[in-house]
Amino acid sequence: MFTKKRVAILGIVVLVGFYLGALATRAIINLMIGGTLFGGNFL
């Protein structure tokens, strides 16, 4: 099941998922008063 190609694909999926998760959070924070909610010390 785990050929080199598939391991590489899984690695890419993990990286893309992580990046998109962080990016989505950043976008939401930017919408929330430019990060000033929660004391502005959110990031």
Partner: protein
């Protein structure tokens, strides 16, 4: 049979990809929420060995007229510099305790620090505005200095600072009231504090196109009756001068370190450009940090934000060094 097995394996692999994507996505969210890009550089592990906090000391009759005093554990010095940090909250919310980490951090450097509450503009207290808040700060500071002395810390100089609404009030105190301060005001540092009130700057509220709305909002901020026909006149500048730090800048203005977000929609970045230009024209030693990717929270430019904080310390070492 072989094709069916191959199909099952492919299906399993796709399923695994989806599960891993979801887990990684959640991991990315959690990382972004909990990661401290400063690695604790501007925080201190607060213990009795670092300092002590005197909470909710009164400086007036109102419930909101309270301040917290943070003092270093070492009280053996002849005199101390005071750093007052004023909290954010759009003049309508916030509390001195919001800045506890900042106040503790500067105590760890050897300063006495204070967070002062001021009476907020709320639905129950609509009569409070930037002018009344700035007057409360002015009233509080001599009391802060005296209280520190009572506790054994002789204050002989001070710096005022703040964020957003607190930045606005810090600038007003530093530029308007410094001459009447109980000890010399050495410098001011602040982030995203509005320092001027010109409708053409306040585009995100549409005030550049709606003079009536601009007059209403600026009347609330100043506590004075401003009408549409006043904009652009000297009379207008006179009316807003009490709450506009920009209009107090001259060659005697104290050194200033300030940071603003280029995409700020809560107070205009354009106002900070005016302030930078005025400070430059007056020959005031100042540093102006523009966070190119950030809004009001200065949230997307960690390196530049760290430069701002490091520059604050450089200026403190230069203008109000710890004895």
């Amino acid at each position: 049979m072989r094709n069916e097995k191959k199909g099952n394996k492919t299906g399993m692999f796709i399923f695994l990809c989806i599960i891993l994507f979801i887990i990684s996505f959640v991991g990315g969210v959690i990382f972004k929420l909990v990661y401290d890009p400063f690695h604790g550089k501007y925080k201190v592990n607060w213990t009795d060995e670092v300092g002590k906090i005197y909470s909710d000391i009164s400086y007036g009759e109102l419930e909101s007229n309270k301040f917290d005093l943070y003092v270093p554990s070492d009280n053996s010095k002849e005199s101390y510099g005071l750093i007052v940090y004023l909290h954010a909250g759009g003049f309508r919310t916030g509390d001195k305790k919001d800045d506890a980490d900042t106040l503790k951090y500067y105590v760890s450097k050897g300063y006495v620090t204070a967070g002062i509450n001021y009476t907020l503009n709320t639905d129950d207290n609509p009569q409070y505005n930037i002018k009344t808040m700035s007057e409360e700060i002015k009233k509080a500071i001599p009391i802060v200095v005296n209280k520190a002395k009572e506790f054994g810390y002789n204050i002989d100089e001070m710096t005022i600072a703040g964020g957003s609404a607190g930045g606005c009030l810090a600038l007003i105190y530093a530029y308007r009231d410094a001459k009447e301060a109980p000890v010399p005001v050495r410098m001011v540092f602040e982030g995203v504090g509005p320092s001027s009130f010109y409708p053409e700057d306040w585009k995100s509220y549409g005030l550049d196109k709606d003079s009536k709305a601009a007059a209403d909002i600026f009347s609330y901020m100043t506590g004075k009756k401003i009408t549409e026909d006043m904009f652009g006149t000297k009379e207008y500048d006179e009316l807003i001068k009490d709450v506009s730090a920009l209009l107090w800048v001259d060659e005697n203005t104290v050194p200033t370190v300030m940071a603003y977000g280029k995409h700020d929609i809560f107070q205009p970045y354009e106002g900070s450009v005016r302030l930078d230009e005025a400070l430059t024209a007056a020959g005031v030693d100042h540093k102006y940090f523009v966070l190119e990717h950030s809004g009001h929270g200065l949230q997307n430019d960690t390196k530049e934000y760290m430069k701002y904080l490091d520059t604050v310390e450089e200026y403190l070492n230069k203008y109000m060094p710890v004895k």
